[in-house]
């Protein structure tokens, strides 16, 4: 019989004392459990749980005070909000959901502690050893079935001249009247590649263009551009060209107080969809529901209004297929994907929502991740990043586009966006409200 290793995070006030009560009453509880005493179940951050599995735990048990009895008021509400979301993410990448359990045990409930510990241990024991941790050098077979081909939608001919002219005109006016100090837009390089450009004078505005290859989410550059620097004058307002998907990122940034609304002038462009490198419509555009930016100061609608009929469902085909797969297939699929990662952080750097001054996964003293470019570290990084984007990701899918190794990172974000919508009836970026799960952790928790 396999004896699993189980890490239990026990709230110091209720559950740890509950475990003591069980001991004093001479109740039996399995020896598989290694208890870690934490001040509150709200202290158990998702990174800790990911790390525990990463280091070879077969199961993680989180116990806290009953809802309404938290010694810090709402700490257990935190746990109740984030651990189920984390579980769905980890299940999505191939962990059996039974391996992560959150429950409540009060100080007097010794019997309950012993029952939960027994139940959890036997369910994890039945699952056998965890397949999560990968030994360095070991490679998993790729499940061909899941390498789903994307249906190609060819990109229609559109007239971009009118939009280009309108962008240039507006940029010229804004710079000439000194309303803004800089316009962030798109230009075409000598090589013919469309890329971001920063325009500072009315004379340079001729560089600006609009075309079906304007893929970059330019709002990524805003926080650094508008961040006040000690000893320097307040940064002047900046104008930015945005597509509908990009515009949602501005809403999230405003909700997180990264800059003020009056610091950005939004040049919103009505979008017909963006081309991928194969010349077809990009994946994100296939499921996009917005033709016009959510937030703008000037709308550049051009002369055409050819909105491509989109697929109505929110989910990508691959998402549905993955959800229908077994945990083993999902694990195989994701390991083969993460295996290609080189930790270049292009995904994170291209992401408008990844704007921490220093990434938790890049700190020299980080205890949540190793330095190596091995499978465990790569998966930890991607799961942690996906979780940090829960309820914040606006689905611009720049991470996936920026990835030199073509890893479908966007699927993780999309999965969590769907989960958050189901649990909190919230989609990021539609209004200036912070994420119900990462940014705002306190507040009422409704059971059920």
């Amino acid at each position: 019989m396999y004896e699993p290793r189980i890490i239990a995070f026990l709230c110091s006030w209720c559950s740890y004392t509950g475990a003591d009560t069980a001991g004093i009453a001479r109740m039996k509880s399995p020896a598989n459990i290694r208890a870690v005493r934490v001040p509150c179940s709200g202290r158990v951050s998702p990174e800790l749980v990911i790390r525990a599995f990463d280091q070879g735990a077969d199961g993680v048990l989180v116990l806290g005070c009953h809802i309404g009895e938290c010694h810090y008021d709402t700490g257990n509400h935190r746990a109740a909000k984030r651990l189920p979301i984390l579980r769905s993410l980890m299940t999505f990448v191939g962990l059996e959901p039974e391996r992560l359990r959150l429950d409540w045990v009060s100080a007097s409930e010794g019997e309950r502690f012993s029952k939960i510990a027994e139940e959890f241990t036997s369910s994890v024991r039945a699952l056998g050893p965890v397949r999560w941790r990968v030994d360095p050098g070991e490679r998993q077979a790729v499940s061909q079935k899941l390498a789903a081909a994307r249906e190609a939608i060819s990109y229609p001919e559109t007239n971009c001249v009118a939009k280009t002219d309108a962008i240039r005109q507006k940029a010229r006016d804004l710079l000439a009247s000194e309303q803004v100090s800089c316009v962030i837009g798109y230009e075409v390089s000598q090589r013919g590649r469309t890329r971001p450009v920063f325009v500072y004078t009315p004379e340079e505005t001729g560089q600006l263009v609009w075309n079906p290859d304007c893929t970059n989410n330019l709002t990524t550059y805003l926080p650094a551009k508008l961040r006040p620097v000690k000893g320097k004058e307040t940064p002047k307002p900046v104008a930015v060209v945005v597509k509908p998907c990009d515009s949602k990122a501005i809403n999230v940034m405003l909700a997180e107080n990264l800059y003020r609304r009056d610091q950005v002038y939004v040049l919103g462009v009505a979008c017909e969809g963006i081309r991928g490198p194969d010349g077809n419509l990009q994946t994100r555009c296939v499921t996009c529901q917005e033709a016009v930016p959510i937030i703008y100061d000037t709308l550049i609608s051009g002369t055409t209004s050819s909105f491509i009929p989109r697929i109505s469902s929110n989910s990508r085909e691959e998402l549905a297929e993955l959800e229908g797969a077994t945990p083993v297939e999902r694990l195989e699929f994701w390991l083969s994907q993460f295996d290609r990662c080189i930790r270049c952080y292009a995904c994170r750097q291209a992401c408008p929502m990844c704007n921490c001054p220093e990434c938790l996964y890049e700190r020299d003293d980080s205890t949540f991740i190793g330095l190596g470019i091995g499978l465990n570290e790569k998966r930890t990084f991607h799961l942690g990043r996906a979780y940090h984007l829960a309820g914040r990701c606006v689905g611009c899918n720049e991470c996936e586009r920026a990835c030199p190794m073509n890893i479908p990172i966007g699927l993780l974000n999309q999965k969590l966006a769907d989960e958050i919508e189901a649990a909190f009836d919230y989609r990021a970026g539609l209004t200036v409200t912070p994420s119900p799960i990462v940014t705002v952790l306190s507040g009422e928790y409704k059971e059920g």
Binding site: A147, Q190, R193, F198, Y221, R340, E362, D364, L371, P404
Partner: protein
Amino acid sequence: MSKPAAERKRWLISQVELEAWLDGIANARKLIAPRQVSDIMLYRPVTKSVEIAWREQMPVSTHTNRPVLSVKEIFFPPTERLFTIQKTGQEIHLEETFPDWETVVFGVRPCDARGVKLLDALFLDTNPVDSFYARRRGNTTLIGLACKEMGSTCFCTSVGGAPDDAHDMDIMLYEADGGYLVEAVTEKGRFIIPGGEWKETSTKPQQSTYSGQFPVPEKGKWPEHFNDEYWMKISERCLSCRACAYVCPTCRCFALRDEMLAPGEFERIRCWDACAGENYRRVAGGHKPRAEKGERLRNRFYCKFYYYPEQYGLGAASACTGCGRCIEVCPAGVDITEVLMNLEKPA
């Protein structure tokens, strides 16, 4: 040492003979070749020649000309364990973990082989010799495959290379009528050629099509442009990711750290690092000598065309092989050829 072109022996073989040869190699040694992984091409171990991705078989997307990562990862892997540390009581025991198998890499692009040669200058030719790199290098035979033409981002001819340059290979293959022309470049290469069974020939390989050559500024021109406004301007779009450095055949910065495996058991690992990253070269106290991303991006170009050639005596050669990978992967469109063409233009 590579033999001069006139002294090299050549054979003409068919696709079937080539595959049989590679199958034989895969049986006896570790064979690494371009493989299709998901929808990109990478150098990966193969057990049979049918697993090899030939250029024509790759799906039409951005990454078609060459594997996304260069052969650098075979000699200087993203992460490697240097040794393990075991602590029992007061005693500390170190155990080195040397890589020790014979490897043959097939389908090496000339730009990649040149990249390895350039890395030798640091890892092999300068003391102290890097024993891990040296082991791998000594145990590895490079079988090149000439590119018939240059890709859209390639510029090897501008930095002293060529799509059919056999210099830094052990064996070179050229596509020819009815199969491949095999050329033994070094003695090491000759060793794995089953010469007797093959038809020897005196035909010279057909030259590949060269394209897009442009003048690259000489090494001496770089210092005077160090303080140009240009660097801050072009770096504005840079996202400070490390994609350019990690796909580069000659970027070789690394970080070292001891990590715990189990109580009392540690490993020292070495893994890739890159100057574009925000924390690169941060020192105790938090000071970063290159805090601005313009300074970091400038460093990348200076390292390729000035610092590295200067430090390791490359003469007029630069540390760039013109593979064009950084142009292809940059999510923000930073373009090294544009920098080279614009360096001497007045601002």
